[in-house]
């Protein structure tokens, strides 16, 4: 038996040394994490985006590119388009999986910088509802006839495109062409509805994280929001004002749906709280019974 004890003692010391090695190596090589994650993220399972990034981004981040265009991939990666997997060829055309594409060769079907007047057409490939409103608007007509009106990029920028918000309508931007007076009236007309939309959006996010099914409310909100914003592109205050009531009714419906979900969540909370109290009482009474039993 003495032998076993001795062997055991030795093994225990070995284990201790092993643990110590682990601890020390971990503190000494903390920056290994970075390489590890880099390698991990470069695995092919990261998804189809890799193809696109390889073809367009490789040249656009390399030294042969004009400095002005070097930042484009980085800007794009900060945009809502990137978030939703809209990549270069969706707007600029061309075939990213074409093996003939290389730096310096013009790719087939590729559109670089569109002409100033052509920008709405490019964006309108997807945003067709907005394009229609815009073409009929004073902005759109000015662009088409004189070529001096605003296009999409004037307000939304290019590449680093964010989800639009009310602050896009501001004094600096609007007064580049006309007085801020009318723009301000428009902004006021939009304000209440926009605020309600963002409040509902906030509630939906909150509800979603508590596990509730918000899919339907979310879709309804999206189409209401999209409809309202499409309408705005007519830049016609009286039109916006006239149809605000209709949007407001739709928002009422969504708010009703959300109120129902909140009610359901409250019920769940109360129900599980009740069960918690029951089990806590059971625990307490069982505790006293076993205490009593001992005496």
């Amino acid at each position: 038996m003495v032998d076993i004890d001795r062997v055991g003692g030795v093994l225990m010391r070995i284990k201790l040394v092993l643990i110590l090695i682990l601890v020390f190596s971990s503190t000494a090589l903390a920056d290994y994490r970075e390489t590890f994650e880099k390698e991990f993220v470069n695995k092919p399972w990261v998804g189809s985006k890799v193809v696109e990034e390889g073809v367009c981004v490789d040249c656009h981040t390399s030294d042969v590119m004009k400095p002005d265009y070097l930042g484009i991939p980085q800007e794009w990666k900060m945009s809502i388009h990137y978030e939703n997997k809209v990549s270069c060829h969706d707007c600029h055309g061309g075939n990213p999986s074409d093996s003939a594409v290389s730096c310096g060769t013009p790719h087939s079907g590729f559109v670089g910088i569109p002409k100033y007047k052509e920008v709405p057409k490019m964006c309108g490939k997807c945003h067709i509802g907005i394009l229609k409103q815009f073409n009929d608007s004073k902005h759109g007509k000015a662009l088409m006839t004189s070529g001096r009106g605003p296009n999409c990029v004037t307000c939304h920028g290019s590449h680093k495109i964010q989800k639009a918000n009310m602050n896009i309508i501001n004094k600096v931007r609007c007064t580049r062409c006309h007085s801020y007076k009318r723009a301000k009236i428009m902004k006021q007309a939009l304000f209440m509805t926009e605020k309600r939309i963002s409040d509902i959006n906030h509630s939906i996010r909150q509800l979603r994280s508590s596990g509730a099914s918000t899919e339907k409310a979310k879709k309804m909100l999206f189409r209401t929001e999209a409809g309202f914003r499409t309408l705005f592109h007519s830049v016609d205050v009286s039109l916006v004002k006239g149809r605000t009531a209709g949007f407001s009714r739709k928002l009422d419906v969504i708010e009703g749906m959300i109120a129902d979900i909140y009610k359901e969540i409250r019920f769940r909370k109360n129900f599980s709280a009740f069960l918690f109290l029951l089990f806590a009482s059971l625990a307490i009474s069982a505790y006293f019974i076993q205490k009593n039993n001992k005496n």
Partner: protein, 136 residues
């Protein structure tokens, strides 16, 4: 002894309450799901929709579109785009449903032709009974 009896009664009481509180949800959970679509069908006159056109309407709180196609006959689809939920419109010339938000295109079977939509449109059964069309 009295104390012991009291405690036992208390335990029995709480146990019964707990059992009931668990048993009720269990029974509800296991009972068959109620179908709320109680054969509430939508009936319209076939003359309401001319050949080659479509009509938007509401069916069970859901916006739908009923198409009268010359070859395919009467078809009914949900108008809610499967991408983000905008309402698609029927384009009679191209025989397509087009979403105004991000240009998702669906054909007359409801399948995605182009655009960002992940799934086909939801289709509703249509029955032509003489002069009437029954949806649902």
């Amino acid at each position: 002894m009295k104390r012991r009896k009291f405690l036992k009664t208390l335990l029995a009481f709480f146990s019964t309450a707990t059992l009931v509180t668990i048993a009720y949800p269990a029974v509800r959970f296991l009972s068959p799901l109620k179908k709320k679509i109680e054969s509430k069908k939508l009936v319209i006159n076939r003359n309401e929709i001319a050949a080659g056109t479509a009509k938007n309407m509401i069916y069970q709180n859901e916006p739908i579109v009923v198409v009268h196609d010359l070859t395919a006959g009467f078809l009914a689809f949900s108008r809610v785009c499967t991408h983000l939920g905008c309402l698609v419109n029927y384009n009679g010339e191209e025989k397509r449903f087009i979403c105004p938000c991000h240009a998702a295109n669906f054909n007359l079977e409801g399948n995605v032709i182009s655009g960002p939509a992940p799934k086909p449109l939801v289709r509703y059964p249509v029955l032509v009974k003489g002069e009437n069309i029954v949806i649902g």
